[in-house]
């Protein structure tokens, strides 16, 4: 019975036990702290974005009574009609006491310059409006919007805010009469870029991103998968394939701006493709995502056990049949996951697009691969650089939309993996 106590090894183990437990505890705490720090930063990021951006999803409208004076609509061309004049007349009738030239200018300033285009659209859709008096909600100027959202402090001295005391008075009158409302900002999701913050939207950039990614996906997925299948299943293992493999891994780590320069030299200068189009942007992003897709696809092909291949070949399938009927379907979920992650990467890329002219002010919504377009991250960059204060909220709102797309794509990748992944 005494024997175990005399065993020197167990003594050694017992002596060290506490120390080893301590070391493990330390390591666990360290790991938990690391995760906690990362989460903290993530939370901080989301908090700062959401807190400054949520207000952009609301928009301020002012109700005005417009008389569509038939005298203004004598010209065939609707655009020739003086819509700003109609709005000014309506504001004048609302505030007849405003007479001086400067005050009138300040009064008209309350309404967004986009309001006249809104009226034009309404008349275009419904010509019967001409000659009618109509109550219409029009967008307020961005400074009014900022004031009503509390981003302009009315207690500051007049010289330090962009809304004067008189304008405050008019706005208070309007608010008192129930002629100011805040609603969900649908224009933000349906219109293209604008230099007026209250009119700017992300639909143009979203379309641009869509066309660009469509090109990228339709080129990089087939090429990437074909390259991976060839390298993994058919290519002989020799020095050349080794060199190719090393280079693919290197390409995955090349800074993305380099692909932009390459795209500028090859696609635009040599092939003469039009600048600033999803076509060129998509090709550049294809170059960028190809290595990622090839590497992911090869890993996923490698994980298919050799027994599958041997079994297929054993019952007389050709190599081509073995790959197409057995290996590829089994490896596809992994390949798709890699592709989606590559696409998410491409969605968030700006640097290479800078070189091919996609960092541009584009108002018209692109309708094809050769229309000039920008993409979501570029839109964020452009808004972040704009002097108007109201663009700060727009920038954060656009970031939220971009993040939502990235979440969706990554969730799709996880879902695909969960649903179709086969564990061997």
């Amino acid at each position: 019975m005494d024997q175990p106590e005399k065993n020197p090894t167990i003594d050694k183990v017992n002596r060290g036990l506490k120390r080893r437990y301590r070391a493990e505890r330390r390591f666990r705490i360290l790991g938990a702290t690391a995760i906690l720090t990362a989460l903290c930063f993530l939370f901080l990021l989301f908090f700062s974005i959401v807190s400054s951006g949520y207000k952009a999803f609301e928009k301020t409208f002012i109700q005005i009574e417009v008389f569509f004076d038939p005298a203004e609509f004598t010209n065939e061309n609707l655009a020739a009609a003086n819509f700003p004049g109609l709005i000014k007349a309506s504001m004048n009738s609302m505030f007849p006491e405003v007479t001086s030239r400067k005050d009138k200018k300040d009064l008209y300033y309350l309404i967004s310059p986009g309001a006249s285009f809104q009226l034009m659209k309404q008349v275009k859709n419904n010509p019967a409006l001409i000659g009618q008096k109509e109550l219409i909600w029009v967008a307020a100027n961005d400074d009014v919007d900022m004031l009503l959202k509390g981003n302009i402090d009315r207690t500051r001295p007049e010289s330090e805010r962009r809304i004067s005391d008189k304008q405050l008075g008019w706005l208070d009158t309007l608010a008192h009469d129930g002629k100011i409302k805040k609603t969900f900002n649908t224009a933000f999701f349906t219109s293209g870029d604008s230099r007026e913050p209250e009119l700017a939207g992300i639909w143009g950039a979203t379309c641009g991103s869509f066309y660009t990614l469509l090109i990228t996906l339709s080129l990089s997925f087939p090429i990437g998968v074909a390259a991976a299948v060839y390298l993994e299943e058919f290519a002989p293992k020799n020095r050349w394939t080794d060199i190719i493999e090393v280079n693919i891994n290197n390409l995955a780590a090349v800074p993305s701006i380099v692909y932009g320069l390459l795209g500028l030299a090859v696609f635009i200068n040599f092939f003469g493709m039009p600048r600033s189009t999803p076509l060129v942007g998509g090709l550049v992003l294809t170059l960028m995502t190809l290595p990622i897709i090839i590497i992911a696809s090869r890993a996923s092909l490698k994980s298919v056990p050799p027994s599958i291949r041997e079994a297929a070949l054993g019952i007389g399938a050709s190599k081509m049949q073995m790959v197409a009927h057995h290996v590829l379907p089994l490896a596809l979920p992994g390949m798709l996951t890699g592709t989606i992650i590559g696409m998410a990467h491409a969605l968030g890329e700006t640097a290479p697009l800078l070189m091919v002219g996609m960092v541009a002010f584009i108002v018209d919504i692109p309708h094809g691969f050769t229309d000039p377009a920008t993409v979501l991250p570029v839109q964020i960059y452009l808004w972040a650089d704009s002097p108007e204060r109201a663009f700060v909220a727009k920038t954060s709102a656009a970031i939220m939309v971009l993040l939502a797309f990235l979440f969706l794509m990554n969730a799709a990748a996880v879902l695909l993996r969960k649903r179709f992944e086969i564990k061997w």
Binding site: A79, K105, P113, F117, I152, D153, R156, S159, E160, R161, R162, S194, R195, E196, I215, S218, L219, F221, P222, I223, V225, A226, V229, I268, F271, G272, M273, P274, R275, S276, T277, L279, A324, L328, G357, V359, A360, F361, I362, V363, D364, F369, T370, P372, L382, A384, D385, S386, P387, E388, R389, V392
Partner: protein, 349 residues
């Protein structure tokens, strides 16, 4: 697999065909150039696109130099039609244009932009002269002990330069060397400030290179911080650090008047009226350049020029003034509107 490869190649070929067909005719104006002019030309472009039946022009913010590089690349739909610039075209750029077949260029001056020095409202406004700014930011300055000798910049605080200035560390946030704002700032303040010293003034005639190096080199010991091209970022940093001074365009001061204040330079504060009247010393003209050969090829160029040079756009009450551009006086506006209308070709010797 085969099918998708076929499909991909078909798509690829289709796109090439599509792109070359598209390149044969472009139906929108392509504009490149200065990031300072960008906020103004975009407003005009948007207005133009919405009030006419033409497509909205596409505007890239490439910087003045980058814009000319593209603009002077040649004649043809793949090259831009208009280049915005925050300075006049250089002789070398003009020569490149000529060499590449861009013979006829129309220059249109559109207005002015003030460069402001500003700090947070939490501290007192600075009263500076251009000499102070030169002494605060140059790499080498005249020896404070006297004599016509240049020494590495010894000044640490504003008080060291002028006892009337606050006893605070010199900390200036400004644009990087690639920026047109930086070029203009160096030329308009540093150079003018330096020439108040007679021996530097004489240097210009004797040794041009030395003069340039003396007046245009900014110190690298941490007093001048390159804050990137994003002026909003500089404004935010000023708000966080009340002791720092920032350098940026007037429109950012205009938009953030509740947080920052412009420094008074040679007794003039950077207000709209002072810049417009030319009293405020640090302002520069803005331009755009039109390729005459494109005028009848790309639809809408003439109309775009018309919109830009109309009183409702660049006039003293126009919408560009609302965006922070400082308009020219009526006489100058009439002159340039006329030149734009006649498409008067720029000559350079």
């Amino acid at each position: 697999m085969k099918k998708s490869i076929l499909l991909a190649s078909a798509l690829f070929a289709g796109m090439f065909a599509g792109s070359s067909a598209q390149a044969a005719g472009r139906d929108y104006i392509s504009i490149v150039g200065s990031s300072t002019v960008y906020p103004f030309s975009t407003v005009v472009a948007e207005q133009f696109g919405k009030t006419t039946n033409f497509k909205t022009p596409k505007i890239e913010s490439t910087g003045t130099g980058g814009g000319f590089k593209l603009f002077c690349g040649g004649v043809g739909v793949e090259y831009p039609d208009i280049s915005n610039a925050s300075r006049a075209i250089k002789k070398s750029e003009f020569d490149t244009c000529q060499a590449n077949g861009v013979k006829d260029i129309v220059e249109v001056k559109i207005g002015y932009d003030g460069i402001v020095f500003a700090n947070s409202k939490k501290s007192a406004p600075l009263k500076l002269t251009r000499k102070d700014i030169f002494l605060a930011l140059a790499k080498n300055v005249p020896d404070p002990k006297g004599g016509d000798k240049l020494v590495p910049n010894p000044y640490k605080t504003w008080k060291d330069i002028d006892p009337a200035l606050p006893n605070e560390k010199i900390e200036v946030l400004g644009p990087p060397p690639t920026s047109g704002t930086r070029d203009a700032f160096v030329e308009l303040t540093m150079e003018t400030g330096a020439t108040t010293f007679p021996f530097i003034h004489d240097m210009e005639k004797k040794d041009k290179n030395l003069f340039k190096a003396t007046t245009q080199t900014i110190r690298e010991d941490g007093a001048y911080i390159e804050a990137g091209e994003n002026d909003n970022l500089i404004v935010q940093k000023l708000e966080a650090n009340p002791h720092a001074v920032g350098i940026f365009g007037f429109s950012f001061l205009d938009q953030n008047a509740d947080m920052i204040q412009g420094s008074i330079i040679e007794n003039e504060s950077p207000t709209f009226d002072n810049i417009a009247s030319g009293k405020y010393p640090v302002s520069r003209p803005l331009f755009f350049y039109v390729k005459k050969a494109h005028v009848d090829v790309i639809p809408g160029i003439k109309e775009y020029l018309g919109e830009f040079t109309s009183e409702k756009a660049w006039g003293s009450e126009g919408y560009l003034a609302d965006k922070g551009m400082i308009p020219m006086d009526k006489k100058e506006r009439d002159l340039f509107a006329k030149q734009a209308k006649e498409l008067k070709t720029l000559t350079m010797k």
